[in-house]
Amino acid sequence: MAEHHGTGGHALQGPARGPGAAQALAVGHPQGAGHHAHSEVGVTGIDNRKLGMWLFLASECMFFGAFIVAYIAYQGKSLSGPTPEELLNIPLTSLSTFVLLMSSLAMVLAVQAAQQDRQADARKWLLATALLGLGFLSFQAYEYTHFIHAGLTLSVNLFGTTFYTLTGLHGLHVTIGVGWLLALFLRSLKVGLGRAQALSLELAGLYWHFVDVVWIVIFTLVYLMSVLG
């Protein structure tokens, strides 16, 4: 694959081919330094930062997977209550899940608008994404408050330990995401939010969507499946 890209790159680089292996290294090649603020498209045809972001997200699969497996491995092993069945509120969480999913939709629309240089739309959808993210966090804050009143703390039993850690670290990711989106929004007031910023926005978007898909998994495994007891 990338092998193909490499040679492809050469073909278009355009030096005429000729004999003489000894000249192999003498051929000048106007490779850019690759340190420009905007595009750093490399051999694969993908911007460095985007490639890096995807690698980070791939790594995050192993991160969240570990917390999820801890939650499942300890399911039903708590020595005392409260239990998931007693506490988890599926209707409410379905609503917050919906909010998070819609924030993803808003995010993708923001990125699209920026790529098409529709700056006002981009800003609008970006702000909508951040606000929906805040909405999700409010649900979580409400949920935590309620659970703590009901006696579920981090240390009371294994359910509390695994539940708060898993959803808390997800919530931390959402919080960082909201911060990132708001920072992009504020900055956009100064430098705009058009084609030149589209990649920055897309990177934040990838992160945001990933946090969303993690929640899809948590919602199913932690909340929906709790009805099975």
């Binding site: 990338a2 081919r17 000729g18 292996a21 192999a24 340190h35 192993m62 981090l154 900055r187």
Partner: protein, 626 residues
């Protein structure tokens, strides 16, 4: 070299510009300088870990000695392991990754130069954080794999484990960032014509190592977070009193810990794969097979973690599964060893110090690998597990394998990095003293283990009959130290009086030998076009090279030579961000909320400034004529 153009001034801090002097090192984003920083720092920690080892060997030289207490010994064991793995061997590999990668693939730098600097500073500060624990009431003392619940706040009251948690998290972040940086660099920044299958094998090993880090580090990050929650907030992950299971820690730790073994050994394998061809004047035998084996080893690394846990009572079915998956790793490893032998076969072998270390690697790593095969037999592993037999095994892999490989790399690439040759006579003396010292120290461990000496005991009674081999081993440890001292003398001598190295002192094969030693800040005056493996060799000896495609003719187009070369600007942000994170981690150790808050705020501010500052860029005019 003239700087033609400076970056626009953005943000609060004036962008650093100096290319020489102290601040130029603090603010550097040049992969070569970062590589050199890694090199010296790693070597410093290697000596620290070595001194810890010597104290332990003295304590064990004779039965019933009480030079150090049991607690102090446990701290030494833990810090020796943690230091050697995370602060010495991995970063020494990282030194070569940083320095050599862009040179080997014909690039000007890595993909994210500032992140590269951040990795280094986090590593340095993480190492300092771990080691200052000695001054704050005791170092971590639960072994390098810190098994729960010995690390819990019930059984471990001091701050040592907290230092360990925070220090390892810093190092983990550092390694994760490096891994992403290197993978992107390898995928995106190769010189034109350098397809993946034309990359030097060292780069392949770096790629595999980086992927291993990328996918294994999160497991230990999670384990450490769980441990932190248990210790700080009374969570129950490993608390049996509330139904928690201490074995969860072991699983998560080894999901990381086993790939970690290959993270340590693959770079050395990569170095040997470069050194052997150079000094036998032959291409690497079976390039594709070696590459494929590397990838396979990396993949299999994720499927064997439970072989570290044969004694935890997983039952014969699970033990059998992991015994068999473990055995399969011997296959690609064997393929590599045979391919290296075949590379030497029929060659014209020059016995430089670098080659000697490579041969040392080949033989010593084979011993370590074979005792590893013995461990895979789960039933008999129950006897060897947690004894000195295992200690022998992994020192053969880590010293005889990784460290000898890295020393081969040092002797091979030192002239490129520092522009001066190391003394070959001293080098060979050093090699033989190290080889002998190493074997005298560690071969007896095989006997000690099977004669019933468990790991990590700070003393043993005379009646166990273990005195003789322990004394031999202690003597060996001092011989090994003399070998290291000879190396240090050699480095000192070389830096002061060493013979100047030309661009290509070894008659090398790969791109780094086509440019001056040390290379100019921009590496390549003109980015080369790569039409085959071992491109430098092919240029020098067209009649010996296997031309895979007709090379392109020269064109006059070389805009960079005319308009200058674009390089990233130095930056204060990497060290500032690393400092902010470290302040937070330090606050975490002492559960000091204001300090943690300061760290968090500092981190947010630094990240913001970082992104506002941008990569910047300076344009330099290359010197001389390429």
């Amino acid at each position: 070299m003239a700087v033609l153009e400076q970056p626009r001034q953005v943000g609060l801090l004036r962008r650093p510009t100096s290319l020489t002097g102290f601040w130029s090192w603090v603010t550097t984003v040049d992969h070569k300088r970062i590589g050199i920083l890694y090199f010296w720092t790693a070597f410093f920690f290697l000596l620290v870990g070595g001194i810890e080892a010597l104290v332990m060997r003295l304590q064990l030289a004779h039965p019933d000695l009480e030079l150090v207490t049991g607690d102090r010994f446990n701290e030494l064991v833990t810090m020796h392991g943690t230091t050697m793995i995370f602060l010495a061997v991995m970063p020494l590999s990282s030194a070569f990754f940083n320095y050599m990668l862009p040179l080997l693939i014909g690039a000007r730098d890595v993909a994210f130069p500032r992140l590269n600097a951040l990795s280094y500073w986090l590593y340095l500060f993480g190492g300092i954080l771990l080691n200052v624990s000695w001054l704050f009431g005791g170092a971590p003392n639960a072994g390098w794999f810190g098994y729960a619940p010995l690390t819990s706040s019930v059984y471990n009251l001091g701050r040592g484990i907290d230092f360990w948690i925070q220090g390892l998290q810093l190092l983990g972040v550092s390694s994760l960032i490096s891994a992403i940086n290197f993978i992107v660099t390898i995928f995106n920044m190769r010189a034109p014509g350098m397809s993946l299958m034309r990359m030097p094998v060292f780069v392949w090993n770096q790629l595999a190592t980086s992927f291993l880090l990328l996918f294994s580090l999160p497991a230990v990050t999670v384990a450490l977070i769980m441990l932190m929650f248990d210790r700080y907030f009374g969570a129950n992950f490993f608390n049996a009193a509330k139904g928690g299971d201490a074995i969860l820690w072991q699983h998560l730790f080894w999901v990381f810990g086993h790939p970690e073994v290959y993270i340590i050994i693959l770079p050395a394998m990569g170095i040997v794969s470069e050194v052997l061809p150079t000094f036998s004047r032959k291409p690497l035998f079976g390039y594709s097979a070696v590459v494929f084996s590397t990838a396979l080893i990396a993949f299999l690394a994720f499927g064997v973690w439970s072989h570290h846990m044969f004694t935890v009572g997983q039952g014969p079915v699970v033990n059998t599964v992991f015994a068999l998956t473990t055995m399969t790793i011997a296959i690609p490893t064997g393929v590599k060893i045979f391919n290296w032998l075949a590379t030497l076969w029929g060659g014209s072998i020059r016995f430089t110090t670098a080659l000697l270390y490579s041969l040392g690697f080949l033989s010593m790593f084979t011993i370590g690998g074979l005792s590893g095969v013995m461990h895979s037999a789960a039933a008999s592993n129950l006897q060897q597990h947690d004894t000195y037999f295992v200690v022998a095994h992994f020192h053969y892999v880590l010293i005889g394998g990784a460290l000898f490989g890295l020393f081969a790399g040092i002797y091979y690439w030192f002239p490129k990095m520092f522009g001066r040759m190391l003394d070959e006579r001293l080098g060979k003396w050093g090699f033989w003293v190290m080889l002998i010292g190493f074997n005298v120290t560690f071969f007896p461990f095989h006997f000690l283990g099977l004669l019933g000496m468990p790991r990590r005991i700070y003393t043993y009674p005379a009646e166990l009959g273990l005195a003789r081999w322990n004394l031999v081993s202690t003597i060996g440890a001092f011989i090994l130290s003399v070998g290291i001292l000879i190396f240090l003398v050699n480095v000192w001598k070389s830096l002061r009086y060493g013979e100047k190295a030309g661009p290509d002192p070894w008659d090398g094969r790969t791109l780094e030998w086509s440019i001056p030693s040390p290379p100019p800040v921009y590496n390549f005056r003109r980015i080369p076009y790569v039409h085959t493996r071992d491109p430098h060799w092919a240029r020098k000896y067209p009649h010996l090279a296997q031309a895979e495609e007709p090379p392109p003719a020269a064109t006059a187009a070389d805009s960079e030579a005319e308009h200058g070369i674009h390089l990233p600007s130095p930056s204060y942000m990497p060290i500032l961000l690393a400092l902010a994170i470290t302040v937070g981690a330090f606050g975490g150790v002492f559960r000091n909320v204001p300090l943690v808050a300061l760290g968090v705020v500092g981190t947010i501010v630094s990240v913001y400034l970082w992104s506002v500052e941008g990569e910047g860029g300076i344009v330099v005019e290359p010197e001389g004529d390429a």
